[in-house]
């Protein structure tokens, strides 16, 4: 186990290194941010000072080296647009994204799991077919367009909900969150539903598959033979068994929800990190782009590592195969 752990750790570090080089080189190949930042009429002297200040006169490998050594000191550089450190910029935007992701994953689970359980419990009923059809729609219709339809229906035509933005922020425990105010909830509910649809489709399909499989197993048949009521079988026995894979997927999908938030945040003008990365791409704000992407790579490598380690713990075959 120890050898496996070390091997996977080295691999993870290498992946982060390679990805950071790719991201760095890739991002630095896009346009010249100096041209975007300053007035074209500025003197040559100002230009050169700025270039020197940001270190663009140095060769690329040296810029990368500076970047990495700064990262190890907790410094991800300064945003060229907002002129504040990237770390504080990202951390100021992070709560907005996290609360959006949290609410949407909550919605997806609270609706998706019961709906999937019903669809698996009565697979031939009309309601089950309807649920499955809706899950296909959640998968295939592009998120941004559904978001737009929601805005059109509930903000423009009915006027029930605000069309975008984060709303009032209140204090909850020691966090500033819009989930503490009713105005904040009015703002978060539509983007959260939009973000949850894809996930909900996935949850429905997974739960249904687990349910159908469990219904045919011996333990369910035995429980039936004992004369246990269906309710007790479903909630007492089956639910416990199908919840393990659901929790795994749930954890894995948390990361991808963060990525999908990019689209939803743009549609609803939600001031989170997703909106930040789109804005920084459009404004060529290199330090923000590089930092965000490296952080995302780190996040996904970490999720993968944890999943791999858990699997290795559970299944000895994985350990033996990839051990050396």
């Amino acid at each position: 186990m120890f050898g496996y752990l070390v091997g996977r750790l080295i691999q993870a570090v290498m992946v982060v290194f390679v990805m950071s080089v790719i991201v760095f080189v890739g991002v630095y190949a896009i346009g010249n941010p100096i041209d975007v930042m300053i007035d074209p009429g500025a003197s040559q002297e100002i230009r050169e000072n700025l270039i020197r200040q940001y270190g663009f006169d140095q060769p690329l490998w040296q810029q990368y080296f500076t970047f990495v050594s700064n990262v190890f000191q907790g410094d991800l550089g300064r945003s060229m647009v907002y002129n504040i450190p990237v770390t504080s910029l990202v951390f100021s935007r992070l709560p907005a994204t996290l609360e959006l992701v949290l609410v949407s994953v909550g919605i997806a689970t609270l609706i998706g799991v019961p709906a999937g359980m019903y669809a698996g419990y009565r697979p031939n009923s009309i309601a089950a077919k309807l649920i499955m059809a809706l899950s296909v729609l959640g998968f295939s219709v592009p998120t941004f367009w559904i978001g737009m339809l929601l805005i059109m229906a509930f903000a423009v035509n009915l006027g029930w909900l605000p069309s975008g933005g984060r709303g009032e922020v209140g204090q909850f425990l020691w966090f500033d969150t819009s989930l503490a105010t009713s105005n904040g909830w009015a703002h978060v509910i539509m983007p959260a539903i939009n973000l949850s649809l894809f996930k909900m489709g996935l949850m429905i399909r997974l739960t249904r598959a687990g349910m159908v499989e469990a219904m045919g197993t011996d333990y369910v048949r035995f429980a039936r033979a004992q004369g246990l009521p269906d309710r007790q079988i479903v909630f007492g026995h089956i639910m416990r068994n199908i919840s393990i894979p659901l929790v795994t997927v749930f954890g894995l999908e948390l990361g991808s929800t963060l990525a999908f938030a990019v689209v939803t945040e743009t549609v609803f003008n939600w001031p989170g990190v997703g909106k930040l990365i789109i804005d920084s791409i459009l404004q060529l704000d290199r330090p923000v782009m590089v930092s965000y992407l490296v952080m995302v790579v780190l996040l996904f490598v970490m999720i993968n590592l944890v999943v791999d380690l858990i699997y290795a713990r559970l299944d000895p075959r994985v350990r033996l195969k990839g051990g050396s």
Binding site: A29, S140, P142, M148, V156, S256, T266, I281, N304
Partner: protein, 308 residues
């Protein structure tokens, strides 16, 4: 993976079947679902409409000389200065929406299909190579593929599009990078099962060149599951491209795809001009859902558990 192995056992088990017979059998299985047949008809209609657009619609939305600013924001079913009725209205530049949508659909199809085909080719090459040679090559290539699969495609495509810039070839490349891993994974899974079978052993013992074994012996037997993945990936490529264009890193409005049309229309929804974004979105949704339905049915048909 076991299912894929079973899929592959079918063609080798019935070698007397000719290609025409197999196609006829496939069709008789396929048409059992009327939804899937309808979806196929919808796709064919959309393809004809998109590629026949220059002869079908009244206006070339790329040609600035044909646009009149006085026609801007005409609601659906009103007549403009061109003397014809704008069935789906006009946009902020006076473009006829129906014309723009069909031209945009053409762009979306071109991007989706070529990205799908290129990703398929790249994925097959990587999957076959790693499964056939095994060892270090396999470990390295599949590790990269798995890593990529763990990241959301939208993020990869976004980064690639940002790095490469706007334009049709750039978007296609970004989509290929984001999607080839699905094909590589599927090919590798199917090919590692096939590779252990006797006919490959037999072929290897003859002086046939490796290239021939790979593409003439191994490839045809791993193709069925790939067809399913390819259909679904074309749909998701079209949807991804639309998303990228909507986010502003895809195609500019001078080369309208469905995504850039929706993105443009989005600016005007608060002014009650919903037709600018609703109609391109409806076309996008119909296209993607229809392709997915066809893919679903193909999966059902080639799955041996459902065979007669």
């Amino acid at each position: 993976m076991a299912q894929i192995g079973n899929v592959l056992a079918v063609p080798s088990a019935a070698p007397v079947e000719t290609r025409v017979m197999r196609l006829r059998n496939f069709w008789s299985d396929y048409r059992r679902s009327w939804v899937a047949v309808a979806a196929l008809a919808v796709i064919v209609t959309l393809l004809v409409a998109a590629f026949g657009a220059p002869w079908l619609v009244p206006q070339d939305p790329y040609d600035l000389a044909q646009l009149d600013w006085l026609d801007a924001f005409l609601p659906p079913r009103t007549a403009g200065s061109g003397g014809y009725v704008h069935l789906l209205g006009t946009d902020n530049a006076g473009r006829d929406m129906l014309s723009a949508i069909l031209y945009g659909l053409r762009t979306s199809f071109v991007i989706g299909i070529s990205a799908g085909a290129l990703a398929l080719t790249l994925g097959i090459s990587i999957g076959l190579t790693s499964a056939y040679f095994g060892g270090r090559i396999e470990a390295l290539l599949m590790r990269i593929v798995d890593l990529q699969l763990s990241m959301p495609a939208i993020l990869l495509a976004l980064v690639m599009a940002a790095v490469l810039g706007q334009g049709v070839p750039q978007i296609i490349l970004a989509l290929v990078v984001a999607q080839y891993a699905y094909f590589a994974r599927t090919t590798h899974g199917a090919a590692s099962v096939e590779r252990r079978k006797d006919y490959i052993e037999a072929a290897r013992s003859t002086p046939l060149p490796t290239r021939r074994i790979l593409f003439k012996h191994l490839l045809p037997n791993v193709l069925p599951p790939l067809i399913v993945v390819a259909t679904v990936q074309v749909a998701s490529a079209i949807s991804l491209e639309a998303t990228l264009s909507f986010l502003g890193v895809g195609l500019p409005l001078t080369e309208p795809s469905l995504g850039s049309l929706i993105s443009n229309g989005f600016k005007y929804i608060h002014a009650g001009r919903s037709w600018l974004s609703i109609y391109p979105g409806v076309f996008l949704m119909i296209t993607v859902v229809a392709i997915n339905l066809v893919g679903d049915q193909v999966r059902t048909v080639i799955d041996p558990r459902n065979s007669r």
